[in-house]
Symmetry: C5
Amino acid sequence: MLINSAMYDDGHVVAEPGLDRIAAALQARPTGFVWVALKDPTDEELTRLQQELDLPPLAVEDARKGHQRPKLEEYGDLLFAAMHLLEDGADGSPQVGEVHVFVGQRFVVSVRHRSDHGFLGVRGRAEREPHLLQLGPGFVFYALMDAVVDRYFPLIDAVEEELEQLEGHMFETGQDRQAVVRQLFGLKQRLATLRHAVTPLLEVTSKLHGGRVPAACTAIQDYFRDVYDHLLRIQASIDAARETIIAATQVNLTLVTIDESLVTKRLAAWAAIFAASTALAGIWGMNFEKMPELKWAFGYPMALGAIALVSGALYWRFKRLGWL
Amino acid sequence: MLINSAMYDDGHVVAEPGLDRIAAALQARPTGFVWVALKDPTDEELTRLQQELDLPPLAVEDARKGHQRPKLEEYGDLLFAAMHLLEDGADGSPQVGEVHVFVGQRFVVSVRHRSDHGFLGVRGRAEREPHLLQLGPGFVFYALMDAVVDRYFPLIDAVEEELEQLEGHMFETGQDRQAVVRQLFGLKQRLATLRHAVTPLLEVTSKLHGGRVPAACTAIQDYFRDVYDHLLRIQASIDAARETIIAATQVNLTLVTIDESLVTKRLAAWAAIFAASTALAGIWGMNFEKMPELKWAFGYPMALGAIALVSGALYWRFKRLGWL
Amino acid sequence: MLINSAMYDDGHVVAEPGLDRIAAALQARPTGFVWVALKDPTDEELTRLQQELDLPPLAVEDARKGHQRPKLEEYGDLLFAAMHLLEDGADGSPQVGEVHVFVGQRFVVSVRHRSDHGFLGVRGRAEREPHLLQLGPGFVFYALMDAVVDRYFPLIDAVEEELEQLEGHMFETGQDRQAVVRQLFGLKQRLATLRHAVTPLLEVTSKLHGGRVPAACTAIQDYFRDVYDHLLRIQASIDAARETIIAATQVNLTLVTIDESLVTKRLAAWAAIFAASTALAGIWGMNFEKMPELKWAFGYPMALGAIALVSGALYWRFKRLGWL
Amino acid sequence: MLINSAMYDDGHVVAEPGLDRIAAALQARPTGFVWVALKDPTDEELTRLQQELDLPPLAVEDARKGHQRPKLEEYGDLLFAAMHLLEDGADGSPQVGEVHVFVGQRFVVSVRHRSDHGFLGVRGRAEREPHLLQLGPGFVFYALMDAVVDRYFPLIDAVEEELEQLEGHMFETGQDRQAVVRQLFGLKQRLATLRHAVTPLLEVTSKLHGGRVPAACTAIQDYFRDVYDHLLRIQASIDAARETIIAATQVNLTLVTIDESLVTKRLAAWAAIFAASTALAGIWGMNFEKMPELKWAFGYPMALGAIALVSGALYWRFKRLGWL
Amino acid sequence: MLINSAMYDDGHVVAEPGLDRIAAALQARPTGFVWVALKDPTDEELTRLQQELDLPPLAVEDARKGHQRPKLEEYGDLLFAAMHLLEDGADGSPQVGEVHVFVGQRFVVSVRHRSDHGFLGVRGRAEREPHLLQLGPGFVFYALMDAVVDRYFPLIDAVEEELEQLEGHMFETGQDRQAVVRQLFGLKQRLATLRHAVTPLLEVTSKLHGGRVPAACTAIQDYFRDVYDHLLRIQASIDAARETIIAATQVNLTLVTIDESLVTKRLAAWAAIFAASTALAGIWGMNFEKMPELKWAFGYPMALGAIALVSGALYWRFKRLGWL
């Protein structure tokens, strides 16, 4: 589906050509560039675009199939980039969409997949700053990438917050350890999704500033360094969260074992108390003819007292040992 | 066994020379190239081929013995590549076959080992696109590699799917934990087989685009970059699956320990209930002469009531603690 | 908030211009440089400073928002650095503040965030050594960094000391294993905070000596090598502490399991002793008519003796096995 | 002990000079080279050799002391290499011997330590192929290294086979888990020995082909690439086996815990069944005067029936839960 | 404290100047060099030395404070090196001392900290080989480093020996598992100390041979390669020992769990035997009026026989299961 198609010249919209009028529009205005946005495009749309802009077949094939890892490929002067769009899904796990960007000398095409979250804000912001739009397709590429990366922050923040809460509660007694394991495992999976979006993109941005930078991006490499820096920060957060999760998982296993140890101790203590009582009662329940105490007037209360005494003594001992 | 032997010129089959007529055929048509396919070849076949095409002895020795790791070796102008062929075995674990490819200036030879899955489709597709076949032996090499790599995708997809199912069930109570361990271990082994096919091949393809590329592949390095990209995606999937398996194994151990803890708790609770009953019954089973309650009219129901009361109270208490 | 603003010439303070007089002051004295210190600055203060000193917008944006990772960025001749300020928080966990430093050819600006611990000492020390201050903004940059890094040492020392104590006690019996886990986990988190301050700063300082060094720092690269060396030492301590924590966590899990094993053994031993007594008493409590020993004059003492004997024998056996 | 000393010229043995006649022999035949083999040499033998061939003192010192890690050192034109000889010891663990090789322009000296397995086969094979022997000392060096590396294969194969068997049995119930642990640990140690032989040798061989190759080996670098490839294959096998061992160890721990859990369940189930019976018997063993059922004609069978019923019900329940 | 101060010329001692006469001595004999050894020097001694030899302040500061990591710093022509001195402490854990070495064009200064083990032997050996001493300060530097590294070998040997003993015993039953954990943990800490001495020194020595080597060491780089090789060997031993410890710790945890499992099994078995006896005795202890067997002449022996039979059968069954 075509979302938008606009020709910019000198930082302002000057035309909105249809998909099959782009080449003509570019020819008509030799100083402008075109910004095309597609969403879940049909094969036909992509084929037309490929013909209009002479896009490389392998890259168009990638954009058609989707499910790419974040990457940057150069086809002569043209750049082809793939990025992951992460959105908070219903159940807390991030939904992975994609955006592919073709950056030519006089056009930029963005193809969005499996994501309802558009880039209208990016377009708006760019149009409000004509002096930046004048920098051409490279700047649009930066603006899109900046928007994509900005959407990663709330996801990692949510993970960190949940993790911090979990850390606070983990050592409290009576925790549902299984729930903790499940939560830690879920956080780990969310981090993995984030990392698979961030790490390859880091590599992409590192090629867009510093050393040999593709021509389209040379003028604005400080901006790409800024995106790179944001990604590094996210990466550092991911690594830190990941280490915490690993440590917390290990800690939780130890706590589970300690819990079990405590239960075994209580079981042992109570078993001992009842077993002692039962053994005493059993002794006085024997059928020997000559058991003098059975005939004593206060034999029974004495026996009850003895049982209570032994039980009490054991209870007190186990209490002191911390078993009860 | 010779599967096929065809001479191509200008993108079309022009002859099908036998193994001992290849050199002659090449001399007869100076602009064509030969594509030979062998399967589990005899020593004699390889020796003849070596003489016809002047193949390097060390490479032919590798192709004869098989059991090579994926690799790319240059012998002057000739390329020798080994790749793993993975097929789903009967019991879910991938069967490892091999294909070795010799890429010369005017010939390409593929030697398949321990795999029934041929490359007829590759040949068919290539012959339907004569403009690509015109690119020569390098393109055939690419087409074979692309077919090999395409067959890795269903294997990693199967692992991911099985893993996803497992994740969903793992936290359900009453799971057969041993079956989970066994399944995770099996998945890990399958991933290992995949990784040993993919990782060295990644290194191979990285040498076929970008920097100094062997002459036979220079013209089509964008295609090899595409294969490289596919391998990177598989690699990323393998790494992700591997991390999930490690985490799930760890989680499973914790769940086993939690399970045991729960069993111990239930054991402890029921033991306490029965032990209390037995101790009470033992007390009233003692043989003291003076035990007034034994003579009461409602002594027995009272005793039963006391036992029921104590048992009930304990049951209620343990229920509240979550031990039962 | 403006903390300080001083112009130095020939190593001595010659003026204290306000925020909006800095450019003028620099023009008035072509051989001097300005040192400005801000703390949690307002947007207005930063905007004014940016205009006066022509600072790069992206760097000023970073200084405004804070929460940067330690880094060094070059904008032409200007250096922008971010460092973490670590202070011991109330509960032992380090509080993370930040300082951002702009190093120009004729000025140095430090912006402190979320930290009450100022750099008065640095200023004092620098002013007492005019021959070093003559080296210009680069030297001030070094002095600030040196002060920041010096404050990391007590934090890692505290971790090491706590860890050493813990190691000493860990193997004593009767330890509260849960407290040990909690402490180890806390130490790990503190180390993580430290590492996130130190590791990227190491990368920063490695760019300030040896190879291509920014112009402002060339003359004093031996000093930066010294800071680098301090950071390497902290890094080595962090790594060592981290390994110890990992090993101690593993050890603690084993100790917990051993503890449980000991409890199970004691439980088993006492259960056996009481069960044997109860079984014997039960046998003599049976109601068979012909049980000769029941009629013996010393039947009862004999029974008690038998019970005592069996219990004693079991006790002695378990003692020897180390179960009691 | 001197094993052999032969002068080759044009690929054939032309003399067998003693240790103190080597220099003379070399002078007598300017186109030949000498191949000397020593085993556990005396100091005197090494000293003489050093003088005859002008060997570097540090290298001779290494060859005298032994216990070197695999390495390659260049002393001007001379190469000094150390390799590990692995042989299957009596108890399955590999015995580590060593061979040191000095490769000069006109001589090659091999010094074998702590190994009874000589290189007669190498010599025989080399002499049967005079055209290869003509390549000089470098080829002898290759032939020795190839023989050393070929002896690593059966060791890694044995590990893989044992591991495969173990994997097959591990999940069977009733396994002796301690034996499994012990076996896994033993395999790990054997792998470690192999890795310490292979990994540094990999580094050595990587210097003998491709980039800057020592003069003695330039002509035959394809052969060294072949050895390098063999080592890579062994290395890959070692890594795979190592991962499997780590995973299997982890799995085994989980299986042990599951085993324990099963035992605890059975214990709990039987304890419950007997405890219920005992409690019921205890109740009917109480001495209350008014217990009507005690007087019933079928009281006793009824009681036995009740006990059997309760026990049976519990048994059935536990069976269904999978505890029995 | 000044240990020694000697001027060498042509390989022999020619003077022993005091700390404040060194510069004068050097001027008096333009072809000699001075070798100064200090131990735990006072500030005053260091200051004087700094003035005499014009040492760089930052390096002298390091030598004064001590507690450096092993490193090599170049200050123009001067080299400053720090190395760890390890000595076996009373309790088996290595004591860490330090030696700092200043290597100038005409002097070498060694500063020893916290170590009673001097370098007299080094001096003696050097003086006995004047032809080596003629190589100048660089050779003295090598001799010191060689002596330092030689003292690491007995420490790693002791660790390996202790580890080997431990491996042999670990699988024996009845081991004190806690003692094993403690010992493994202790060995790990000792290895850590060793590694912190060895790994950075490896980096130091790698700069002293091969590529760009400081002028003072160029002539003797083969010697430094020898030290480098020794360090590599120690490093390999450390890595191997570390892996063994990690594996052994893991194994020990499994063995602890297996031990517990065995105890639980024995507990379960004996509990079952006694519980069965008690249940039977309880049944014949019931007070039903009509229990025919109670009146049989051989009722009691029969009951005892029944109890013995059941117990025996259970015992036999558990024995066969391996629970007893």
